[in-house]
């Protein structure tokens, strides 16, 4: 443990702590930082590869109150100045987004004991990020992920780095694939299965909102992965944002899951995640979201004006219907999770009767779906994606001059 932490502080520059870089104010303050910078220049990519290799395997969860303070999680999520994409071998694509692609990767030229170790590498093209006006969002993503690294149900940002064209986030690999795939395959989940996933998500939301002050803003089955044991890992923090005590205004999310206050630009808070959880549980139980239409405008009209309606088939219990209706309440002063008690009130809802929340957090319940994972780097649970299109826009000198300093945290 000791050598690990030393490795971390020397090999990885702590960009989340800018005071470490300051060197002008007083000599006593500048001594440690300059020595660590010396070490940094000497630290090789090799050392950093050793460092990241140890995070390829799952760890026992830290208690939620220790995630911010324990060394192991503090070592995680820093920017690396030595690693580059050449240190990884791209195996195959795990997912694509509008400006990002996630790869299954191995270490290139690995040490003998690290040969089987795999990671997920999220690659964002700077020019696309700029074109889609997502510069703020990718910076939020990196910094929020760095802060929450270590939570049992959230993807772990091991380190990040960048080169001329792209930004990279090295994440733990979650071999079970998307809950989305299992849900579409099965059409719908039974109530116990839905409750299991909902319970793990409640713990994620509680942690993000009440310990970190972070709104996630893109909950949906596509962003939930299963690990080898069938537990949830929340991925894609592209819209996550630290709110403090303020509301925020940028419209973002996924049409079917947008809260009414987001659609109507009323300023929104962490309460949007509870709304989305209601939509998610509904979709688990019925196989489709409560508000849907081919034309997004029609979805939005329904969201702001129509109550959630439950079909006669499949049967949903009164408790499930009640928790969904309480989450999907337009008036935020009535919305479960946002009202007094916060997440504790959610946990006490009859839908979760009998759930031992500590056992959920420490992964004592067996996952209802055990992914068919045959070996460490098995990716059969992921869909396949077409290769990247060629002839993308170029990150020109002008763009570099104007924008590159916005990416310096990577």
């Amino acid at each position: 443990m000791k050598s690990v932490s030393r490795m971390a502080t020397t090999a990885l520059q702590k960009t989340t702590h800018p005071h470490l870089h300051s060197h002008s104010d007083s000599s006593s303050a500048s001594t440690p930082s300059s020595s660590s910078q010396n070490n940094n220049t000497m630290a090789s990519a090799l050392q950093e590869k050793e460092f990241v290799a140890q995070f390829a395997e799952p760890h026992t969860p830290l208690p939620p109150q220790e995630i911010q303070t324990r060394q192991r999680s503090q070592d995680l999520g820093h920017s690396s100045r030595n690693l580059s994409v050449k240190d990884f071998e791209l195996v195959r694509t795990l997912g694509t987004g509008t400006f990002a692609r996630v790869w299954l990767v191995r270490l290139s030229n690995p040490a003998e004991q690290d040969r089987d170790k795999v990671f997920a590498l999220k690659v964002l093209r700077k020019v696309e990020v700029i074109k889609l006006k997502q510069v703020d969002h990718v910076n939020h993503e990196r910094s929020v992920l760095a802060d929450v690294a270590g939570h049992p149900f959230i993807t772990t940002l091991i380190t990040s780095f960048s080169d001329h064209d792209s930004l990279y986030m090295l994440l733990d690999y979650c071999p079970g694939g998307e809950v989305f795939s299992y849900l579409r395959k099965a059409k719908r989940f039974d109530e116990n299965t839905s409750r299991f996933y909902a319970a793990e998500i409640v713990l994620i939301i509680e942690f993000l909102h009440e310990r970190e002050g972070v709104a996630y803003r893109d909950l949906k089955p596509e962003n939930l992965l299963l690990d080898a044991e069938g537990h949830i890992k929340l991925v894609d923090f592209g819209f996550a944002k630290r709110l403090g005590n303020r509301e925020t205004y940028t419209l973002c999310g996924t049409p079917e899951y947008l809260a009414p206050e987001v659609i109507q630009s009323k300023g929104h808070t962490t309460a949007v995640d509870w709304w989305a959880l209601g939509i998610l549980i509904y979709e688990f139980l019925t196989g489709y979201p409560p508000f849907w239409h081919q034309n997004p405008i029609e979805i939005y009209k329904q969201i702001v004006s129509k109550p959630v309606h439950f079909p006669s088939e499949p049967y949903t219990s009164p408790e499930a219907q009640d928790i969904i209706r309480q989450f999907c309440t337009v008036d935020r002063s009535h919305r479960l999770g946002n009202v007094q008690g916060g997440a504790a009130a959610v946990k006490a809802h009859p839908f979760f009767r009998g759930v031992y929340w500590d056992d959920v957090y420490y992964r004592k319940y067996r996952g209802p779906i055990i992914p068919p994972v045959r070996y460490l780097g098995d990716a059969q649970c992921f869909d396949t994606y077409p290769d990247e299109k060629h002839g993308r826009d170029v990150y020109t000198h002008e763009l570099v001059k104007k924008w590159d300093h916005y990416f310096e945290d990577f």
Partner: protein, 444 residues
Amino acid sequence: MSYPSAYQEAIESLNQEVSRAQPSDILQFCANFFAQRLEGERADLLAGPHSKPPAMSGSAFPGRFGANSNPFGDGEKLGSAGGISNVIEEEETDTVESPAAPNFSFGAGGSFSSPFSGDGAGQGPPSSFKPAADGFPDQYGMGRRTSVSAESLNPTASSNDNWSPPFHQKTLEQLTRLRKSISGNFLFNHLDDDQSSQILGALVEKPIPAKDIKVITQGDQGDFFYVVEKGTFDVYVNPAGEFQPGPNGLGTKVATIESGGSFGELALMYNAPRAATVMSAEASCLLWALDRITFRRILMDSTFQRRRLYESFLEEVPLLASLTKYERSKIADALETQKYPAGTTIIKEGDAGEAFYLLESGEAEAFKSGNPAAVYQYKKGGYFGELALLNDAPRAASVISKTEVKVATLGKDGFQRLLGPVESIMRRTKYETGVEDIDPLSTK
């Protein structure tokens, strides 16, 4: 006393409809509203192929019936033996057991089939998978849904630039027509008067001089919303998803938009490809245009300013002095704005107190019975009725608006829902400071 949530939702949507339609015959309007809703719901029920209401007994909550049972189904706790409850493979022929039955497990041996194998191993007759035969919406797109996002904007008040919304002069008739055009739109119908007039002012004239000019093109990125002032426009959709060169590139004509109509509203939310091509159907048409950034900034700036105003007002209320910043922002979030003309009795002496008020603009006065002179004057930032949060004592005075006023109000029930009883919030001052005497509830 709280109402069932389904009831509150019904009332909420009724409220929205009423404020949108402003009906003259309220009772008739409400009757129609509920008749329609009922009809829709009954139709949905009838459309379901089977009606087999599963019995509640022994169903989804094993936890209720035994101390050692598992809320996630049988045998899921690590180390325990038994099957793994799994996702449901559709089984339409099975009429004995509801598909939602909890003990749907894959045999006692703990074996499981790959969720990708799709043969429903261990569940009786193999695959009788019938898509869309069980009330499953057959048109629902089952693909991955992509995220959407507008550009991130920061409120003007918290940044350095001095942005102010553009203003384009319009005649009274034009304004009336525009107001009518957008009043039913869900992106506009909840705006307050100030926001609406800023939005109306920002709409800019866009003349379309000739016939067959494409205002928006299917597949292109969209930034503007349009209201038709004069002329007609045809809407075309190409099934390929975008306008294509060549004779049939427009696709099929699906609609015509006339004066008073509008199109392109999705562009006010985020940048998305246009779903249709809209082309002028005659010469000398006139449009009003509004771009997304202007629209979103107007709403954001006014909401941001109002929220900061409310928070600063709340800081001045001694009763709420011990609220944390987070709690104050929650209350500010829940405050509702109301307007009253001069001379309105906002609270009445002797009535039960239900809500408290912050005076956002205008002036008001407090009167006590038997005293013709006002006993107190309220100005912007003033507050009254706050004791209602504490107890059910009748209002000690009446408050009457002196000018037109705008108040922000929150009911006792709303306050308690968000933060719990005020008594406990006030009492915590005592523990935080360690001073016994300042318990504001101690009766001396």
